[in-house]
Subunit: 230 residues, 2 copies
DNA sequence: CTCAATACTGACATAATTGTCAATATATTC
DNA sequence: GAATATATTGACAATTATGTCAGTATTGAG
C-alpha cells in the first residue's frame, strides 16, 4: 500500500520568466528508430559482458554507455531477461553466419585445415567466447531460439569438403565421425583458448607471438591428421 | 536525497505482544569447528556455482544449503569477496594437486598420452571447468594466491617424461615448445569441452558414449603426434 | 497545422542481497 | 562448575538492482 506521493511535480519549475514560449529549452532529446536503439543497446551490452563478465550486465551501466536512461532499455526489451534473450539470439545468429561463411570461402576445395583455421579464429574471438561461455554457464544456451543446430551444419560443410577432395584424389571417403571429432576439437580448443589461453600463456611464459605460433602448430596438427587419413 | 525514514517503525508491527523481553527460541544449535564450517560452506558454494553459474552464488542460498544463517558465512569469510577468494584459492590448489598427481603416477615412463588423458579428465570435470571459467570471466583468476604457475610445473613434468623416454630409446630430445603446445591444446580442449561439449554433442546428435569416443580419439591424435616427433 | 504514435525520461516503488550488531548457545579450559 | 572464546543467529540497515508510471519530446501522416 502506502500510495505515497503519486502527485507529480509538474513542469512548473522555472516558469514565470518573461520568455513566454518554449519554457523547456534544455531538453534536446535524441530519438532513434526502435531498430537502431535496440542495436546500440545490444552492442553496449555485449561490450560490457565481454569486458567485465557476467556481473557487468547491469541496465544502468548499459544505459549510460549508450547515453540513455535505463527505462529506455526496458521499453525496447520488456525486461532484463528480454535483453538477455535478444543478446543470445543475436550472438547465435552472428556466430552461425561467421562460421558458415568461413567455411564457404571460394572454391579452394582442398585446404581443409585452412578453413578449420578460420573456424578457430571465429570461435576464439574473445568477446564471442566470453559471451557464449556466460550463456552456457547460466544455462541459457538456447534461450534465443529453439533450433541451435549450428554444429550439424558445420560438420556437414567440412565433411562435404573432405569428400569432394577425396573424390578428386580417388581416395576412400573419410569417416564422418572423424570429421565431427575434428570439429569438436577445434571448437573446444578455440573456445577454451579464448578463455584460459591468456592465463595459460602467461603462466608458461609465452608471449603474444607464442599464441600465434600455437595456432599455427594446431593447424599443422590437424593437417597431419588429415593427411594420414587420406 | 530520498530522505528515507531514518527512524524505526518501532511498534508499528505486532504491537500487542509483550515485545519488551527477547523471546526464548531454545533451539539446539549445531556448532562446528571453524575449519569444518569453512569447508562445508566452500563445498556448497562450489556446488551452486557449478549448477547455476555465476548468478547462483548468493549468501542466502549457500547458507540454506549448509543449513546455517548467512551471517555465519560472513563470520567465516569476512565478506562475499572473501568467500570468493577462498573459493578460488582452494580450487587452484585442488586443481594443481590433481594435475600433478595425475602426471606423477607410477614409473610408466613411456606412455605420455596416457598421462595427458588424465590431465584431460581432470580439467574437463564439469564443476572445475565451470568454476575456473567463472573465475576467468570475472577477472579474478589470481585472486586466490599470487603464484599461479601451475602450467609451468605441468609442462616441466611432461617434458621430463618425454626426455626420459627419448633417452631410453636414444632419440633426440623433444622440443620444449612442442610439449608446451600439447599441454595448451589439452588444457584448452578439455576446458572447452567441459563447457560447450554437451552443447556441441547434442547439436551434432552425439550421445554420451560419443563423448567418450571423442576423448579416446583425442588421445590417439596426441599419441600419433608424439610418435611422429620421436 | 494538428494529431496520433511512440521513443524517451525522471521519480518512485519493489525486491533482492550484502553487511552490521547485539544477543545466545556451545565447546573448551582452568 | 565457572569462565572464556567463539560459532551462530535474528533483526535490521544499507545498497543496489529491476521494474512501473505518468508525463514529455519528436517524428511522421493526414
Amino acid at each position: 500500500m502506502s500510495s505515497v506521493a503519486k502527485n507529480r511535480p509538474k513542469a512548473a519549475e522555472t516558469a514565470g520568466k518573461s520568455g513566454e514560449i518554449t519554457p523547456r529549452p534544455a531538453a534536446k532529446r535524441v530519438r532513434r528508430t526502435a531498430e537502431e536503439a535496440r542495436r546500440l543497446i545490444l552492442d553496449a551490452a555485449e561490450e560490457r559482458l565481454a569486458r567485465q563478465g557476467p556481473e557487468g550486465l547491469r541496465l544502468q551501466d548499459i544505459a549510460r554507455d549508450v547515453g540513455i536512461s535505463h527505462p529506455a532499455i526496458l521499453h525496447h526489451f520488456e525486461s532484463r531477461e528480454g535483453l538477455v534473450r535478444a543478446l543470445i539470439g543475436r550472438a547465435n545468429r552472428q556466430l552461425r553466419d561467421t562460421l558458415l561463411s568461413a567455411l564457404d570461402g571460394g572454391g579452394k576445395g582442398g585446404d581443409t585445415a585452412y578453413h578449420i583455421g578460420h573456424v578457430f579464429e571465429a570461435l576464439s574471438d574473445r568477446g564471442t567466447a566470453r559471451l557464449f561461455s556466460w550463456m552456457l554457464l547460466t544455462g541459457r544456451a538456447n534461450a534465443g531460439q529453439p533450433d541451435n543446430n549450428v554444429m550439424g551444419e558445420i560438420v556437414d560443410a567440412i565433411q562435404a569438403r573432405r569428400e569432394e577432395h577425396s573424390r578428386q584424389s580417388g581416395q576412400a571417403a573419410p569417416d564422418r565421425e572423424d570429421t565431427l571429432f575434428i570439429a569438436m576439437l577445434t571448437a573446444s580448443a578455440a573456445f577454451g583458448e579464448a578463455i584460459i589461453g591468456r592465463q595459460l600463456a602467461e603462466s608458461a611464459g609465452l608471449d603474444q607471438d607464442g599464441l600465434k605460433r600455437f595456432r599455427l602448430w594446431f593447424a599443422q596438427l590437424v593437417n597431419d591428421h588429415l593427411d594420414d587419413k587420406k
